[in-house]
């Protein structure tokens, strides 16, 4: 479904993503993890055609970002980490706009379902400017889900959500994958990645450190650790080559505490 080959992106002189290649099939949920500035958001934005590529090709459902950007976008939904909504449009008007752009003919039932699911029904006629951070996030997610995308790109989707919202979102992502969507989630919440992702990609300084199934990551990088340490977190640090650094930091902290 998503096919990325040799993708690189630089900002001025800074190489943000370096020769990235991967693919995500329908029903798969890929977790994109890495340090701040690893290139996660750049990758997601490039897949959706928001920012131009410096090199490489990106295809969604066989449509290339270079030759068929409209068809690609028609099949893709992107939820940014900080949703920039149209401040004077109401919640319902945002969904109407989305329905219009993505040619959804009779969206009323789906709109009502989504608004109820994310507890936005009482805010249906409120302007986006009056919504809280979490509600803005929920609205952006509703807009993305309304179009029933084949590819779902979520950048830090849990930001600002309440526990109920997080639970609903996790469940809904699983449902989207079950429906046949290819999902990529960028997140620092490793527990969440562990919970819902079938695959994981560890990025560091724009390069792939690991790409594969979740179990493989744990097997490969947390090999001879005790069961307690065989967590995704331990594997993540090992993949980044930071195991020593983390242990050192912990020792430093305990020494300081001891003093």
């Amino acid at each position: 479904m998503i096919n990325v080959v040799g993708f690189s992106k630089c900002y001025e002189q800074f190489l943000a993503v370096d020769n990235l290649s991967f693919s995500v099939q329908p029903g798969q949920v890929l977790g994109l993890v890495g340090r701040n500035g690893a290139g996660k958001t750049t990758t997601l934005r490039s897949i959706n055609g928001i920012i131009p590529l410096s090199q490489g090709t990106i295809e969604v459902d066989g449509f290339s970002i270079d030759s068929n950007p409209i068809e690609l976008k028609q099949r893709t939904a992107y939820v940014p980490d900080d949703p920039q909504l149209f401040e004077d449009l109401t919640v319902e008007q945002h969904l109407q706009f989305q329905a219009s752009v993505y040619q959804i003919s009779d969206p009323a039932d789906e709109m009502t379902r989504l608004l109820q699911m994310f507890e936005l029904s009482p805010k249906r006629h409120n302007a986006a400017s009056s919504l809280s951070r979490g509600m803005r996030q929920k609205l952006a997610i509703c807009c993305a889900y309304l179009q029933q995308p084949k590819v779902l790109l979520l950048d830090e989707p849990m930001t600002g959500l309440d526990p109920q919202g997080i639970r609903v979102l996790k469940q809904s992502i699983k449902e989207q994958a079950k429906r046949g969507a290819a999902v990529i989630i960028s997140s620092h919440l490793l527990a969440m990645v562990e919970d819902i992702c079938s695959h994981v990609m560890v990025l560091d300084c724009g390069k792939t450190k690991f790409l594969g199934e979740l179990a493989e990551l744990q097997e490969q990088f947390a090999g001879d650790q005790t069961p307690d340490n065989q967590s995704l977190e331990q594997a993540f640090f090992s993949a980044l080559g930071d195991a020593q650094h983390v242990v050192g930091a912990e020792l430093g902290l305990s020494n300081a505490n001891a003093e």
């Binding site: 900002y11 219009s100 752009v101 009323a108 009502t112």
Partner: protein, 573 residues
């Protein structure tokens, strides 16, 4: 172990951290200004900016060197009147637009300054200092331009600085007062302001009309004469007892700036000018405290209303959620964008209506002259094009300029770049057409313009409107900026943009003149019919305008495709 060394500093006006922030911001502004010149992505626009800057500078120097000093009495009258009208404009704008929080804190300031452990007084001092910094840049430019009229240079500079700072302080006072009022109070102020300003305007217009009707010798230069009469009426209003009282504070700055020599009168005016600013600053602190108190009272009242309404809210939401949802027609994406921008027009209908009323009234002025219908139509068209070019782009910000922070969202939509550009330009162009339709309708209804010619003119003007907004958006896309920002960089940008647009307008006028010369020569040489030559001229101008408009639309489309939200979105401060 780290320890907090921060003192409360609650008694002082200034907090050192805010002083430092201001210093950093000022440095950053210049750094950003020069960095944009070094950015390879902005090489061309930087060269254009430098050229325009040089052009503006040389024109200013020439005008300063070769301009004769204006009559001291005239300038002594018009300078305070200018400052007064500028303040009045602020008052009208504040009382008619949607209520905004005073001081216009940027998102970063809300997070770092409002949330910081500093007193409200220190926050206000910080904001007033940034306002004064912006006034400083303006004062430098104004005092340079006015140097032939200024006798004592330091008085000229400080007089302008204090005068401009006072206007800004008056604006802040209006904002605080208006924000502190309740709904009913705001409505009353709105009515008083609109009735007062509108009454003066109508009084002046009606006096002009009476004078015009009484004078039977009026012929072709009627519009010019009307304009002169109008200025005379405004002058007499300003010279009336009430006018003099209202302008008295502003006259202090003008007297100080235009002091003929260093003497006791200069120092007296300087003392008064500084004192007025001091009073205004003190009034800002006092009014802000009142506004905060009013805010708390409103909170309590709102809470009561909210509790009373809460019981019904869920039921009504459930009922409303079951109704039929109308999806706007997509039309390749143009329809969706058009619908969304039209919602903006609906939400800001008061502001939009007011913004269009002024150009309608100004454009109708030629109707007061006595011309044959053909000449009248030409005058009306020239007037409409001029005001469409001058006033409407800043009044109808319903295009890319409104969406600079949502470019990532726009780019993610499955809409082609061309459709995106057309959709973004559609609403301002439609509103501009509406404005022209109203003027032409008034012309036709008054019997001074032939109806079918008015309709034809309306249709022929559509490419002009596209050109105006496409050029505005193209300039914006070349060097995007955040709206509602003030400061030296914005001031510089405004000057450069205006110079660029003026050049473009002059060039277009020159080309039109060249074309009319060619048509007239050809007409005389081949003894062509009038109808043929007129059609050839009109079609030529229309064709070139249409081609230029299309060129700009395609250029914006290219810019939108190349726009990288990660790199090209300007900082919000």
């Amino acid at each position: 172990m780290m320890q907090s060394t921060t003192q409360p500093l609650s008694g002082s006006l200034w907090h050192p951290a805010l002083q430092r922030l201001l210093r950093f911001q000022t440095k950053a502004k210049f750094r950003r200004l020069f960095a944009s010149f070094r950015n390879p992505r902005k090489k061309v626009i930087s060269i254009v900016a430098v050229l325009l800057g040089l052009m503006w500078l040389s024109q200013t120097i020439l005008s300063v060197l070769f301009r004769e000093a204006a009559d001291p009495d005239q300038i002594g009258f018009w300078l305070p009147l200018g400052l007064f009208i500028y303040s009045l404009w602020h008052l009208i704008k504040i009382s008619t637009r949607q209520v905004v929080e005073p001081f216009e804190w940027t998102p970063a300031e809300k997070e770092f300054v409002i949330a910081a452990p500093v007193t409200r007084t220190q926050q206000i001092t910080y904001r007033l200092t940034s306002i004064a910094t912006a006034a400083l840049a303006k004062a430098v430019c104004f005092s340079v331009i006015m140097s032939p009229d200024i006798r004592v240079w330091y008085a000229g500079f400080f007089g302008m600085l204090l005068g401009l700072a006072f206007v800004d302080l008056v604006r802040v006072l209006f904002e605080l007062f208006f924000y502190g009022l309740g709904k009913a109070g705001r409505r009353v102020v709105q009515l008083v302001v609109l009735a007062g300003a509108g009454g003066c305007f109508l009084y002046a217009i009606s006096n002009c009309l009476i004078a015009q009707t009484a004078n039977s010798d009026l012929s072709s230069p009627g519009a010019l004469l009307f304009f002169k009469n109008f200025i005379a009426e405004i002058t007499s209003l300003a010279q009336s007892q009430v006018g003099q009282s209202l302008m008295a504070p502003f006259a202090v700055f003008s007297k100080f700036a235009l002091s003929p020599e260093t003497n006791i009168v200069l120092f007296k005016n300087m003392f008064l000018a500084v004192g007025l600013n001091g009073l205004a600053v003190a009034a800002v602190y006092v009014l802000d405290r009142w506004m905060q108190r009013r805010g708390r009272q409103k909170e309590v009242a709102n809470l009561k209303t909210a509790i009373a309404q809460k019981a019904n809210a869920d039921d009504s939401a459930a009922v409303q959620s079951n109704r039929k949802i109308r999806v706007p027609a997509r039309l390749g994406g143009v329809g969706s964008l058009l619908w969304r921008q039209l919602l903006g027009v609906k939400n800001y209908r008061g502001t939009v209506a007011f913004s269009l009323t002024v150009p309608v009234l100004l454009s109708c002025l030629p109707l007061l002259a006595n011309h044959n219908p053909g000449m009248m139509l030409l005058n009306l068209i020239a007037s409409m094009v001029f005001y469409s070019f001058l006033l409407l782009p800043s009044a109808l910000i319903l295009d890319y300029r409104r969406d600079i922070n949502r470019m990532a969202v726009l780019k993610s939509l499955p809409i082609s770049s061309l459709a995106m550009t057309i959709g973004q330009l559609a609403v301002p162009v439609l509103m501009c057409c509406l404005f022209q339709a109203v003027v032409l309708t008034i012309g036709a209804a008054s019997g001074k313009v032939i109806l079918w010619q008015a309709i034809l003119a309306g249709v022929l003007l559509v490419p002009v409107n596209v050109l105006i907004f496409a050029a505005e958006n193209y300039i914006f896309m070349l060097a995007p900026y955040q709206r509602n920002k003030e400061g030296f960089d914005v001031f510089l940008r405004t000057i450069l943009t205006f110079t660029g647009k003026g050049l473009f307008f002059g060039l277009a006028l020159g080309l039109a003149l060249l074309w009319v010369t060619i048509v007239v020569r050809t007409h005389n040489y081949f003894a062509l019919s009038n109808w043929f030559s007129t059609s050839a001229f009109t079609l030529g101008v229309w064709g070139v305008t249409l081609s230029l408009a299309w060129f700009f639309v395609l250029s914006i489309t290219k810019r939108f495709e190349r726009f990288d939200p990660s790199q090209d979105t300007p900082g919000v401060g």
